[in-house]
């Protein structure tokens, strides 16, 4: 029983860290552009599909891990330039625009990749004994990879020129503009970075889940919940909330069923909205 719980918690941790990658992108895009990117889950889905395609054609998962996020960056740049930038002055309209993008991505994948879910073999086969059960090595590796990507992103934000600009634009666009920060370019790269994170999440998650054109629709609510519970604009909070939610959902669904798990996280989110609307971790980070 205890071993079973440990497995559920580990599954939750790995999944939570992947969700955190996607939620982080959602959060920075909202923070810097005021855009609620409804297509963000579909970017994750595209990451999985491209990972599957890359492994099919090159046979190398490592290649997918490098190439797919770069493709995500390119996709993000194009999306921002053509679907967001022209209507950036009207944030409500960007919801319509990104919803359209969501449909386009899903249908494009269904038309080319096909409607049937597919599986990607774990690039690191085998198991490790953890708390008395044999745990898949790839899931541990996925958790580590996602954690490393999160850490790299935070370091990037705190330690690089561009990261400092990003924080400045998030706090005050007007002032940033008058101080000569190229706000439009920072926003463009932020969107591309957010997209790249989502596709990277898709690659990392592909061997754990099934690759399916509906995967984005399934993951998006969890990402939004992480952003709300972590606190809008609070990036470490968002990451922590994603992990907390996934571990909770994992353990609860193991003990009862997935519906009870989702109810638990929705209750958690409602409680946060009622009691701590600034987010569970408000004040803990800046």
């Amino acid at each position: 029983m205890l071993a079973n719980l440990a497995t559920l918690a580990l599954n939750g941790l790995a999944w939570g860290l992947i969700v955190a990658l996607i939620a982080l992108g959602l959060s920075i895009i909202f923070g810097l552009l005021d855009v609620i990117n409804v297509a963000h889950g579909d970017l994750f889905m595209v990451g999985g599909v491209l990972a599957w395609t890359a492994v099919e054609t090159t046979g190398s998962f490592a290649a997918a891990l490098v190439v797919v996020p770069l493709l995500g960056m390119a996709l993000g740049l194009a999306t921002e330039r053509f679907a967001i930038r022209p209507i950036l002055r009207n944030p409500a309209l960007t919801i319509v625009s990104t919803f359209g993008l969501s449909l386009i991505l899903q249908e494009a994948v269904r038309a080319t990749f096909g409607p049937a879910p597919r599986r990607l073999m774990a690039p690191l086969p085998g198991t490790l004994p953890v708390f008395g059960t044999n745990y898949e090595i790839y899931r541990l590796a996925a958790a580590v990879a996602a954690a490393l990507a999160l850490a790299a992103f935070f370091l990037f934000q705190q330690r690089t020129r561009f990261g400092t600009w990003m924080r400045a634009v998030r706090h005050d666009r007007e002032t940033a503009l008058t101080l000569g920060i190229p706000v439009a370019r920072v926003q463009l790269l932020t969107f591309a970075l957010g997209a790249a994170l989502a596709l990277l999440g898709g690659v990392i998650a592909a061997p754990i889940t099934t690759v399916d054109f509906r995967a984005g629709v399934e993951i998006l609510p969890a990402c939004f919940m992480a952003v709300v519970i972590g606190g809008l604009g609070n990036l470490p909070g968002t990451a922590a909330a994603a992990v907390l939610l996934a571990v909770t959902e994992g353990v609860v669904s193991g003990l009862s069923d997935p519906t009870a798990a989702r109810i638990t996280s929705l209750c958690l989110m409602s409680a946060v909205l009622l009691l701590r609307p600034q987010g569970l971790f408000a004040g803990a980070a800046r």
């Binding site: 990261g163 400092t164 400045a168 005050d172 101080l179 000569g180 370019r185 800046r286």
Partner: protein
């Protein structure tokens, strides 16, 4: 004239609907500290926004060092050497004092390598530190800007403007809301800056303006009412009527 004016406005107007907030202003500001004054509603802040590029003019032209900047946005003007502080203090409260000044100093260097580690950017760091030193905030470098006192935030803003090594510094009501002691400090600081940089102040506080400026432009109802050295302005009967001699409302606005 052989010398190119620092800042030149040629028949600049700005309308908001039917209101002519700035109405055909022609100005040519030279070296040193100049001030633009006027009673409430005279169009000072609108004029300031037109000069700094926050608002586009409805008509007219603006030139900086002889270069036409009428259609340049605020950040493009900043890049040409125009720095400014605002009446409503605008710093990044969640960033540290040092990071605020760093961002300002950084803008002089174009982003050749935005992914570089910023602590390694020695030239920008040196300038940020020099600017903090100048305004006396070195001790607060690692504090969040949001935790500073009002007067310190004003000094931080000036440090941020200085870090841009501006050729023209625009100050919008720099002593607004300051205590007398803070005002005195700020005036000394501005005077020191004025020795090497051209400064344009938009200010309510007459004492501050007459103590600092070598040249004063008086605005009233969106037009230039008078323009000259402090002594001439103080003696101008039209100015006295429009501004200096005004009743208690203005007094309250000055001190409130």
């Amino acid at each position: 004239m052989s010398v190119v004016p620092v800042l030149e406005l040629i028949d600049v107007s700005r309308r908001f609907g039917g209101l002519r907030a700035v109405d055909g202003v022609t100005l040519s500001l030279g070296r040193g500290i100049s001030a633009i004054i006027g009673p409430n509603g005279a169009g000072k802040t609108t004029l300031f926004n037109l000069i700094s590029g926050l608002l586009p003019p409805s008509a007219g032209r603006i030139q900086l060092h002889g270069q036409d900047i009428t259609h340049l946005k605020a950040h493009a003007r900043a890049r040409l050497g125009m720095a400014r502080t605002l009446q409503i203090k605008s710093v990044f409260p969640a960033l540290s004092v040092y990071e605020n000044v760093w961002i300002a100093a950084r803008q002089r260097y174009r982003p050749l390598d935005p992914f570089g580690l910023w602590r390694r950017d020695r030239a920008t760091a040196a300038e940020a530190e020099a600017a903090l030193e100048e305004v006396g905030l070195t001790g607060c470098a690692d504090m969040a800007a949001g935790s500073l006192s009002y007067g310190d935030v004003a000094r931080l803003e000036i440090a941020m403007a200085l870090a841009q090594r501006p050729s023209l510094l625009l100050l919008d009501e720099p002593v607004c809301g300051m205590s007398p002691a803070e005002t005195e400090q700020a005036v000394a600081l501005i005077r020191r800056i004025g020795e090497r940089t051209d400064v344009v102040i938009i200010e309510h506080d007459m004492e501050v303006v007459f103590g600092l400026a070598e040249r004063i432009v008086v605005l009233a109802q969106g037009r230039v009412l008078a323009d000259g050295p402090p002594a001439a302005i103080a003696a101008d009967p039209a100015v006295q009527e429009a501004y200096l001699g005004q009743g208690e409302d203005e007094e309250e606005a000055v001190h409130g």
